[in-house]
Symmetry: C2
């Protein structure tokens, strides 16, 4: 089946899937144009409708009228821990073990140095060779400062490469380029069996599937909030440490906000109790509270339904591409089994130009060098009809 | 002269000074209530009127409608350098050598590690014993990671204490507790004569007086933007490095935003040219662009006039206190000569309770333990009449 009958079939399937989608109503929580198919939520999540009024209040009332009183009266001071507790259920962490602040890069540094300090006598850090590059840069800097060495390995080689000298293994849960999902349980167990700590970067998984930090006894995790969590451009990152490791946490950026008595202004550092000890300096309140407002979009959302929709959407998109784009023109780089996140990566010739044409026609994905077209399917606001339109538009661009 | 005649005289002086103030019109650039005397701008600067509409546009239009395109089309990507160039003239830095991002604490860490790496063979960091404590915490962490030692010294002892093993000297330009201003030129020259690098924290001076980083050949400087620069709660900090040291800068938080080709996603780190190499991760855009809008309040402002008004305001306040508060009830902790910033610190019994009473009566300063009342005089929006009202209110509270 191809041509008009294929399109009619796909259109009918998209309609049925959208009608049956238990998350369909969540799309109304976002400010979207129906003229654009936005498939770049894995880079910058769309704006939740709950954000603008909240930010206006933070700026106009909390800063503008209450000023310094807002640190205590509007909960600014404890917002990093409070918002961390809102993210915790999305990543399978217990309350009190996630804190929000700084960038993902800074938190990678914090986690790797902390892991090295927990494994005295070990001097090697393994880093996911397919990692988002900034993770590798910061891990290298952490290793250098700690006198350790860094070695890049493919994630599936970790069980063979981890050894007696391995202090920490830094892994990305989902490969940002291909969308491949790695086995958090098996890789964590493998690192643990060798006596190493693991640091997982959840930037490309959180908000699309049930991340089970607690169940898998993950030591450290970091992640960004501006992708599938829709926290806004450059929204602050988060940091998780395993509950039984928290009391021994010795992190390299101990600032006044992580002090046990921050307003005591003591000359000596004494870490706060709890996850507060993973904070550093004054949080960027406007961005932080924009994230807080954005997380309202998750109220009552079942992450298992998100995962089911994510797999169905990406399956459907791949099927549309398969039917509408002539064989051999694009190559799918994303696993078609369950070991994938919520994106589809396709390779083709002139990928940069193809993506420009797609964007000009209202289908927004992104290009990653050399030849990858990335399409992110944020399950909270992407419809099956959007997946079909993206594939149709791609077929049109490639046919020219 | 005391009692009614003293008040009449002080009122007349305040009126004359406000009428003659060349900066009087700048107050209209801020959203203030006339019912409150806000003397905590050294902790959180007041809201500039330019901010709310700009933030609403960043959230609603740039994030909400343009989404990922705003990174290039709205200048998000280069905002840290562009806003750094707006701060540069306020701190006496040439264009291209100030970048905005992260917290002051993180930037202290960045500066101290960088300074240690520039002084091989030297293993000691001197830190201002009267420093804002977070600076000392981060300097200690930097020293520990670099295998150096840390020693706290009074700033005026630096010429005697700096030696052949001193790698870096971290100093606060203005003591947050007493308001004392240290001699940047002399202390920098003293450190340099011993072969050490200096790191100045400008958090309590920038925006109140002409800081002359370039003239004094300062090596590194950091500072916060939410005090006298009015950038908003937790607004991102800035980092300066001396132009001739930039090419040799080897900073400990090398993230993707400081890479020479950030979208090349190269596995190896190559620092960008210019001050961009001092960036780390994705900037918190909403807070960052709120700061950008806030800096409009400085358009056309002459920093020499700011300094003159700052000294006149604090002199007048001290004179009002001297005349209205009975002798011996409060003790002034702030130098009365030119070696002070834009705050007045008074000690008294029950300081915490006194400050609570002042705030309840609409005079907002803050309390720093054990016994200090701090009154910050932000010259852009504080009037001589405010200084008088604060002193009158203080006299009233203390009389009870």
């Amino acid at each position: 089946m191809s041509g008009p009958s294929a399109r009619a079939d796909l259109t009918a399937r998209a309609e049925r899937a959208d009608l049956a989608d238990p998350l369909a109503g969540i799309r109304d929580r976002f400010d979207l144009d129906d003229g654009v198919v936005y498939l770049d939520g894995n880079s910058l999540g769309a704006l939740p409708r709950s954000v603008p009024a909240r930010v206006a209040e933070v700026v106009g009332v909390q800063w503008g009228r209450m000023r310094i009183r807002s640190w205590t009266e509007c909960g600014w001071w404890e917002a990093p821990e409070r918002i961390g507790d809102r993210i915790a259920p999305l990543v399978g962490a217990p309350p009190g073990h996630v804190v929000v602040g700084d960038s993902t890069s800074v938190n990678v540094f914090r986690a790797v140095v902390s892991a090295l300090r927990m494994t005295p006598g070990r001097n090697e850090v393994l880093v996911d060779a397919t990692s988002f590059p900034t993770d590798g840069y910061l891990a290298a800097s952490a290793a250098r400062l700690a006198g350790a060495t860094l070695r890049a390995v493919q994630p599936d080689r970790v069980p063979d490469e981890v050894g007696d000298d391995t202090a920490a293994v830094l892994l990305n849960h989902v490969d940002y380029r291909t969308g491949r999902l790695w086995d958090m349980g098996a890789l964590t167990a493998s690192a643990h069996s060798a006596g190493a700590r693991v640091v997982w970067d959840l930037s490309h998984s959180a908000g699309t599937l049930p991340v089970q930090l607690d169940r898998h006894r993950v030591d450290f995790a970091v992640g960004c909030t501006y992708k599938y969590l829709n926290g806004g451009p450059g929204a602050p990152a988060y940091f998780f440490v395993r509950p039984d490791l928290l009391s021994g946490l010795d992190q390299p950026l101990p600032g006044w906000c992580s002090h046990d008595d921050p307003f005591g202004m003591e000359p000596g550092y004494r870490p706060a109790a709890g996850i507060t000890k993973a904070r550093t300096g004054t949080p960027e309140i406007i961005s932080l509270l924009a994230l807080d407002a954005a997380l309202d979009a998750w109220d009552g959302v079942d992450i298992e339904q998100v995962r089911a929709k994510s797999l169905a959407l990406t399956d459907f998109f791949l099927d549309c591409v398969h039917r509408l784009v002539p064989a051999g023109v694009v190559t799918n780089r994303t696993p078609t089994d369950q070991w994938r996140g919520s994106q589809v990566s396709l390779s083709c010739a002139d990928a940069a130009t193809v993506m420009k044409s797609l964007i000009a026609r209202g289908v927004v994905g992104d290009h990653r060098p050399p030849d990858v077209l990335r399409f992110g399917f944020a399950p909270l606001y992407t419809r099956f009809a959007d997946a079909l339109r993206a594939a149709e538009t791609l077929a049109g661009v490639l046919a020219e």
